[in-house]
């Protein structure tokens, strides 16, 4: 078991606002971790900090042993594409989609490594097996899809390449419970092999028993950790 993600002393924020306070986190390969916390407590910012999208940050972030943290961010997003190519698959919150691309092109855009670009047809088939409803929408512009379908596309995009770390930011947010459950189940179907996955959620019940660990996040810090079977035990 090797460490996929190693964060030490990470602080990050926007302008004068400090959202994440000296955070430490280690995620090992093959692990599925749920991060649970309320709105505005830094789940998204943690993901953005890993991707280099916050205005500033300090501390160490290692992905697969390679340092990607920077003491000072030079403009949000400037190095994101380099960080992403280290093996990040980000499934962002909300509508981070390309509204004019068709579903097919949209999935292709997620295949950022040369290898996955070559195998994109096969990958697409695999993803369409998981997200059945997208099959007949394959040539529709994403801007015309419903919220649930868009989320499927956005998650599918993240699954297109072989990543070291999958980060899904509130995959069920704003979806009807039934559809949200389906989307989450699809996420859990991804075969991790040596990679790892972080899922941020507000709803603990959705993750219980399905992930290896659940970590609480409060006011920019990680608080309390439970293996998800333990939390099941408490409930019974």
């Amino acid at each position: 078991m090797s460490n996929i993600l190693e964060i030490k002393g990470l602080s990050a924020g926007y302008g004068p606002l400090r959202v994440i306070h000296d955070l430490d986190l280690i995620i090992q390969s093959g692990e599925r971790v749920g991060i649970v916390g309320l709105n505005g407590h830094g789940k998204t910012t943690l993901f953005y900090a890993i991707a280099g999208l916050t205005h500033w940050q300090r501390g160490s972030i290692r992905i697969g042993g390679k340092e990607i943290g920077r003491t000072r961010s030079q403009g949000p997003g400037r190095y994101t594409h380099i960080v992403v190519k280290e093996g990040l698959a980000i499934m962002p919150q909300g509508d981070e989609i390309f509204h004019g691309l068709t579903v097919e092109e949209h999935l292709d855009s997620g295949a950022f490594t040369p290898e996955s670009w070559k195998n994109r047809k096969q990958k697409r088939e695999e993803i369409l097996e998981i997200f059945e409803p997208l099959k007949k929408l394959i040539h529709t512009p994403v801007g015309r899809l419903s919220g649930g379908e868009r989320r499927m596309v956005s998650i599918g995009r993240g699954m297109m390449s072989e990543a070291k770390l999958y980060m899904a930011d509130e995959p069920t947010l704003g979806l009807a419970p039934k559809i949200g459950k389906g989307v989450l189940e699809a996420l859990l179907k991804i075969d991790l092999k040596d990679s790892a996955m972080i899922i941020a959620e507000q709803n603990v019940a959705l993750l219980e028993g399905k992930v290896d660990r659940i970590i609480g996040m409060h006011a920019g810090k990680l608080k309390g950790e439970a293996s998800s079977s333990l939390s099941m035990g408490l409930k019974n």
Binding site: A51, L53, Q74, G75, G77, R78, T80, H81, I82, V84, K85, I90, P92, D95, E96, I97, F98, H99, G100, L101, E105, D108, S109, G110, F112, W117, P141, V142, G143, R144, R157
Partner: protein, 294 residues
Amino acid sequence: MNDIIFIIINGITVASIYGLIAVAVSITWSALGLLNLSYGFIFSFAGYGAWLAERYLYGEPIFVMFMGIAAGIVGGVMVCLLVFIPVHDKPNFTIRGMIGTLAISLIGGQILLQNFGPKAKLLPEFFGYGKIKILDVTLTADKIGIICSSIVMLVIVVRWMKSSRRGLEIRAMMMNPHAASIVGIGVRKTGIYVMAVTGAMTGLSAVLLSQTYYLSPFSGLTPMIKGVSIALMGGLGSVRGAVIAAIILGFNEALTSKFLGGRYVLMTQFLLIIIVLIIRPRGIAGILDKAREA
């Protein structure tokens, strides 16, 4: 009857030259957020590149044309390195980029003036002096050549954007730059591709226009102004919108110069643009866009 066909042909010829620049302006604006006012310079730069190639290397028209396109690519990449890459992540990028590219247009023009002098240069006629007569209408080889080569260029660019990986990246960035960085698309690298492609389009329009008229250090300014206004009418950022706007304004130019006289062209042109923008603030693209905004 003869007159009408003459006007149609003239309109399409004008449209195809300015349309190339308009599409270039549109693509740069929506992919990079840069209102590139340096196409005037790239235009003259490409023209002089073609002229130098013709004079010192080899006079074959096809070769000269490709050298013009190549010079356009070089000019585009140069502007990208000088303006886009240094300022793209600074605050107020839109204004800074506009001023920077305008400065390049003016400074570049002066440098060309210094090196080549104010005397207009001539490029050889690429398409010869042949004429075809179809149903009483004479079509000159020149006009047919201009229309065909522009269409070929546009089709190549659009197909490249539709089918290649770089094209996909550019289109993704046109639609949502933030999400584009999330899927690993780098702004600066894409910027170079965008500027090279749009530079090639400007280069082609430069050699096409210069072989009909003449080439001078500032001969790119008028085509650039027309290209930018066509792009505006098309609804900055839409390739289809720019093409349709170019055709409308091309006909306007042909009609105006036929019935009112050449000096009224700019007047009717801007009146038309203003009218379209009053009715459709998002330009022609506003009518075409099928996708729901995010």
